[in-house]
Amino acid sequence: MSYQPPDNILEVLQKIEYEEALAADDPRFVDTTVARGSQKTLYRLARKFSLDLSDGRFTPPLQKHVLFFGHVGIGKTTELRHYAKELNGRERFLVVEVDIALMLDRNNIKYADTLMAMAQELLKTLTLHNISLGSEALSELEHWFSQRVLSSENLRQFTGEIKAGAEVGGGIPGLIKLFAVFTSSFKTNKTYKEELRTVIRNSFSEFVAAFNYLLRQAEESLVKANIAKRVLFIIDGTDKLRGEDTRDFFVHDAEQLLAIEGHVIYTAPLNLKYEDNLAGKLDADLWLPMIKLTDRDNHIWRPGWEAMRKILLYRAAQTLFASDAEINRLIEYSGGHPREMLRLLKLCCELAEDDLIDIQTVDTAIKLLASDYRRFLEPEDYKLLVEIDQNNLHIGNDKRTRDLLYRLALLEYNDGSWRRSHPVIRSLEGYIAAVNAIT
């Protein structure tokens, strides 16, 4: 039976989860390629790894680290999962997804933790594909563990606990268990987290060499098994690191990341894109555009409206809306940001007294969402937003602009060449006053 959206307000309310990324086979997935104007995004992404999707030619470089930018909540993870379907294949990649939110404490994350998690997920994925590696492939990693970690004086008590626990065993299963213990410790064990990081930092060159060796062996096995030519890591959740951690991870520790001789995509927050000191270290010119509702000259962009409508009507049956006017207004005031539209939908569900969302309910929801922005916007913010809206120009990336982008008060479209204030903000008195002051 085909998927049916909930047709009861309370059920809609119950099922709205902002943080949820859709799985590749989720029936609620909507193809937003044309809507975003991102027809070339997958193509460009593949090209960065030297894969030409038009003719299938693949000439992989030794390593490539690509940042994938986008506003928080616009569907980067969902899109990447769909891209993965295209990138996976015998003549292409074996995609290994590493969800750092799930595996690590993403609010306190360092490159060492990430590398451990990558190793763990690689071994798990190989196991899933019945790839067995010879003992030699694992020998360097096992050696590093035994010489540097398990024999570390500072970690004696911790490793003692490991030994006292379940027998980790050898081979890939043994290493998976060992990595799992360590990544779990990075997530929860405050006592040993820093000690573990110190050990990795002090022996990083050995660890990364062992990891790279394992990766090469794994890729050779994948080719032999006719599964893929290379491994592609998708590191998800790195777009949600704290401000300082984001800079540490992508700027200060970029050299460590670049030491990994592999193919890696990292999700990254849009504001990072405009940090001056990011330039040159990582491949940082690819982003997932917002779904646009108009083009730069304010002409209606029909595919954007259609995609947003589909997204909405997969979450709430059409019968729940009094008419198309309500649906259109929700889309309009989302600015093409799916999560903001879901936020408005949730507010409507909270407000609706009957099983029907009418125009007054939608308008009240818009007011409520606008009031969330009113809490932190300052007069100078409004002034800047009005200038951007009126001049239709990209007028720089100073701190105020970056902060507005980060907090979704300012939305960026297409190739980042044009921006608009969040539509709900335009109804605020601060914005109106700024318009009056300028005109």
Partner: protein
Amino acid sequence: MKTADVFRFDHRRHLAATAVRPEHHADFNRLVKVLRYGSRFQFLLAECNDDLYRDLLIAKLNDVLAEEGMQAARLNVSRQTYSNFAALETEMRRLAADHQALHIVDQHHWFDAEQLEAFNIRREAVAQVVPIRLIFWLATDTIKLLALQATDLWTWRGGVFSFATQGHMEISEPPQFMNDIDNRTQAQRSKRIAELHSYLNMQPPLPDDLILPLFDELAGLLKSLGDFDEALRIRREDALPRYRKMGDEHAVATSLANIADILTRQGKYEEALNIQKEELSIHQKFNDHSALARCLGNIATNYSYLKLFDFAQSMFQKQVLPIFQELKDDRSIAVTQGKIAQILCEKGQLTEALQVLQKDVLPIFRKLSDINSVAITYGQIADIFCAQGQFSEAMHIRQEQELPVYRKLGDAHLVAITQGDIAAILQATGQYAEAAHILEDEAIPALLKIGDERSMAILRTRLEEIRQAMELPRTEEPA
């Protein structure tokens, strides 16, 4: 979801909402709904700057949740209770085991930049180990700090519910306004609002004479729901200009009176006065004495709210009273004299106030056989006796003139309030045990049943003072 269950739930939440300020009905109803029907884990922000009012809101929410079979716990977070976020998280985790909702009440700005950052860091972990509905009761500035300093956490919010009030809720009585009687439920009123909107948006637009009653009704409904801003906008921008255009000056005067009434409720007394002066000029033009006196009375009331007591008193005495006397409108005379007495009390002229009440107000209400107003006037007299330290006289009035009347009228609310007043006298005269007994066993349970959370909070505070005076251990109160 069974229709009957949903109906019962809606009924409960709307009933509970009547105890909160009208302007917060919508947010209260939303919050209850999302707590009941939203997902298992939720991170919700409730904005409230008034401790007393916040406690009332929590009590009301818990009542509805309990009826829905959901248990809520409360954590008061201060520097005395939790040294850091880790300690708070441990306690949240413990309570998550047998509760479905948790109120985390920020006291004295415990959630500063440091604690918010700590929470931000742990937010994923909190969602996993405390998988219940979390309602963070924060002050306005703390929510702003959260949005700016812990943006990821802010992005993560399930909703913001505003119960902000201007300043702290006064324990002493603020100006009280009687709402127009409207027996429709909030849901019915909201539905009617939607209907009115659909009429107002008809194309081609309705002519002014047909559209104006719709605007008036809509503004009245919005006011009854606490949306003063929108009600004011409609009266000012949609209705008033049309009445002016039609040249209907009586309607213009009524419209101005309605605008001034909203402004007064919003505490914008000076702005209200400006409007009332225009209204006054219309009544003067038509020589409408009754309307003129009412308008002057409203002007004087606004002056009294501005604490211009002498001027207000003079207006009541020299301008308002003579008109009502001329019109032989006894009830309005008594009401005006009551207002004069109130001003005298504010000025500390208690003896004069007492005289007005005893000589000018009571006899009229007695003559009109308005026993309710008689009892209320006695209550004002008893208040003065209390202020003068004449507790036995005050007690006599409370017990002989007020309580029996309210009981006879079946007004449980006024009975409970009067019992609270009696307890205050007992407290003032050191009869703590008896005072505590009346509050615990009679007044507070009665107010709880009625749902007057505000008065209940006042009495609970009084009970707490009495307990402290008695130095007795705290006993279990009605929840």
